[in-house]
Symmetry: D3
Subunit: 223 residues, 6 copies
């Protein structure tokens, strides 16, 4: 199977992080390619960033859509996911939805560790859209940007992760940004609860959908 | 990886159906074994059936728990799932939860095609427990028993599946019983929406959890 | 006060309908201009249509944003509303949100009369985003396109409106597309419940916000 | 248009505050009169106060109902609103509902700044009745009475308003009592989020309903 | 123990029906008196009826409140219940709340058989206020008035009751008006599901509260 | 009437506590017997404990079911309640459901004082199953075991009870374990809000159901 993983921002650092994770976890049969939207901002931190990225995605997807069996939007805000599901019947998955789905069978409630304060309402909208508000213990802002140095990311994720477990009674943590990819196992070891990375979740869910040969439903929302 | 798929009823027909599906979809690396609870009823159609099955599961699981990397409860009512999650930190998944999680990224809302009228409130409780009531278009009774002949199953599933799509606006259908395993692709072709089988979903989700090396959270509910 | 009403599709027929309504209802002090996105499709009937329209809106809004006191997105799917609220602190309102807010004090529950079947899940997402699912009796598809002849629109709206009142117990009806502007009073007379037009609602809500000198909050979501 | 604004308590101080605000914000075409229920208590702080006030409102409304185009109940608990909507088809609006509706398009969630601790459950019931619980960040008690001195009101509103923004992540604040009228702009300046006054909201919403010539639905709840 | 059962309407027929039921079911130790508000309308079918009745209740309750150990409002709309809970700490219960509480342990979901179409939204508000919307299968209008002849009541209750069971999957039925008292057992026999009368429920719940010596909480809502 | 109260654990201390309460509160006509499952663990603190207890309950209930008019499961987690409701049409009630139903008419929201942290998610599932999440202010862990000394129980219950009232705005407290029976009145006096014991609630609710001669519905869930 051939999967395209689209990083909707233009940070080569983030793209490389995604690539590394994909290679680490992909099945041997899985051919996975990671492409970024190089005209997009360095990180998707606002509605404006998202709109600029989708603007370019719209054109590029036309070229890409026939060459792969499924598409991952490597952004935890799941930008463009509804759009692509409409444009093809091949499976489309974003990091947000995938990470929540993988978190559910591991514990009672999950918390999302997000970037800035501003992201919280947007994540709330996302959780509500997927109908998962009763399984979400909290959404916490770490104050991080999409691009940040490793030490800072690690420190802030541990700090907010521990608060999520103690104060909000989260039983599973979700890394709420593609830029956090690769930190899951380390945070897990320290905080003591499962930590879910969006890229890994999306990759495995996509492989499952393709292996099962199921396609996006075309009788309603994505007609 | 070594997975144990536990059929909590004693029907050899259902056990064979599950085995066939598991072999068809498992990864080459996956060693999967299917065991039934032979002291249990032929199908889990009531709270009583469930209690009898769990009674025997309780003892057997002690022997099984160290020999596998993860456990599937091959019952769409997810009986014993909370119990096993408490008894081990290895991943545990039931067909109900797995099938709903796999259905979510394929369309706006799913419908569950269940057995008798009596099952509807129990499935409603299950959907509510997982917090997915806003993504569930309907739960429909087909009138089928766990064990039924192929032709009857096919006919009833198509009939209720078509009503779910037209009247309840379901975009994805879920086969609400392990005894329906193997009918997914045929119903899909006729009704025209993705049809999700619980065994396939649970198998793939379990493989993902094991590949990702994540374990059940042990800080709260499953401590 | 100076209001810009942005028709995000390129239909001159729809634009003229909006203009007519705006002139009919605007306060004498209100200077209202209607502009369409001429590069956009004739109607916003899909996620793709929305993405194309937002792509051009993104650039144009830069020129427009300093010249008006508030902006109406004359589309009942409220496309681009979050984006514009982020780009300016001047009030932004879409027809979807405005029409629901005006419907609330007139009766127990409202129904939205929408275009095609495909629109229903999207409107459900919108209603859920605004947290109004408990006040929404139903969303009904009329089968109409954004551009349709008057007689057909009238007939379909009456037909589905009457069903909404009888079968879903709607007490207020909402015209779920800018292309239906101007039919409110006629449907109201026949169906016998208040019928709310999105353009009128958005205009009046916008005038209220500007008169009250309140701006979009900039401490969280729209920072 | 002729609007009657009914202050359901007997405080002349509150009545004057309402009058001042009404004059400040009413359209030039709007003829607005403010009347209080002089047999009612000085403030509506309990179910008993509400019942006494409604007892007199019941008789007075008979005289008033033919002389105005719409009626505002200038109380943030919306007492008597359902009753009056049944007695006339002319629009009726209370400060509670109006202020929430105006707050919605300005930010993700609002908080209501109320009087005493006792009021919180009552406001919760009100928010739930309007189906807006998902948009309400919190309801906070200031400890104020309906009648209080300006300095105390200002201080308490700022204090609880700042907590609402920081601790509950409110993006918009609502003044939860007619006796707080006139403090909106001052609190807004200090706390830094939009502050919505109920009287202004109700006035503008009422003017909109009358200009739009829509009446209360008479097919169900208010028949 | 001494209980006062207040019939808030003035129908002697309804009062007698309530008395008969109370005598049939009261404990031997229970001294129960039934009083009607003779200045009230013959039935509480509207917000206006309710307001008139509460107006007189307000005065009368002052005389009554010291002479009894608990008070039943024998109206299924629970009018005045919050008010009385504020005025005394002795237990207060209405037929609506009591009947729903007694229905819950008998089946998955209940339906309320109410009077006219107009009552449905009001009952919806009541169910929502008590937070029981997820346990309510439906509210159905029988078209009956508070006062109606026995044969008509019987026929309509059976007709709507059967629809509630078949179409809405109700497992328990609630008689949604004090005027239906005495028909429970007969409807039960024919429809085949438990049928709950409000008067019986309120009486037994009140006896339990008094025997348990628990009083209305006075730290918040009813302070 | 003859009621069997089943203590599903094997602690004689807990059984005696239940017996004492039952004798104190039962009607003179009520013949109540308390039996424990002596093969069960000393307390039901986990899913495993529950499964072991239900395993033995399953057999014993066959002997018991014809000899009593109703059955109480004296466990606040309501283990086996659905099962027994299926096995007989005589009324079945658990302490969890009974205590919540009795708490509802006494105040706006209740808090449950439970044992260990681990119990919280399980109680959340229970509250959600009964559809009462909007009436539940909080679930608080006291850290207590099922068997604990009186002084420790008293101290912890007061401590968490006071926090529930102050921090979570609970207006009623529920003792969330049969082992807490007998402490209600003492906690009530100190904390100042009604405190509901599950045994008392279940006893009184059971007596009401039997006196009313209503049986579990057999058309759906419990067929």
């Amino acid at each position: 199977m051939k999967i395209l993983c689209i990083n909707p921002n233009s940070s080569s650092e983030v793209t490389e992080g995604i690539e590394k994770i994909c290679k680490e976890y992909a099945l041997t049969d899985t051919e996975i390619e990671v492409k970024c939207i190089k005209e997009a901002p360095l990180g998707i931190e606002s509605y404006h960033d998202a709109a600029v990225s989708v603007k370019y995605l719209l054109d590029k997807f036309e070229e890409w859509k026939n060459e792969y069996d499924g598409f991952i939007i490597a952004c935890h805000s799941d930008i463009g996911v509804d759009l692509l599901r409409e444009l093809t019947k091949k499976p489309i998955i974003g990091l947000g939805e995938a990470s929540m789905l993988l978190a559910l069978p591991l514990g009672h409630k999950f918390s999302i560790l997000s970037l800035k304060r501003k992201k919280i309402p947007q994540k709330e909208d996302l959780v509500k859209k997927y109908g998962l508000e009763n399984r979400c213990a909290s959404i916490r802002a770490t104050g991080l940007g999409v691009v940040a140095n490793y030490k800072e990311k690690r420190e802030k994720l541990i700090q907010e992760g521990e608060k999520a477990v103690k104060e909000d009674r989260a039983e599973v943590l979700i890394l709420g940004c593609a830029g956090m990819a690769g930190l899951d196992k380390e945070i897990e070891k320290i905080v003591g609860v499962p930590v879910i990375d969006g890229v890994v979740s999306a990759l495995m869910l996509m492989e499952s959908l393709i292996r099962y040969r199921v396609l996006t439903s075309k009788v309603g929302k994505y007609l």
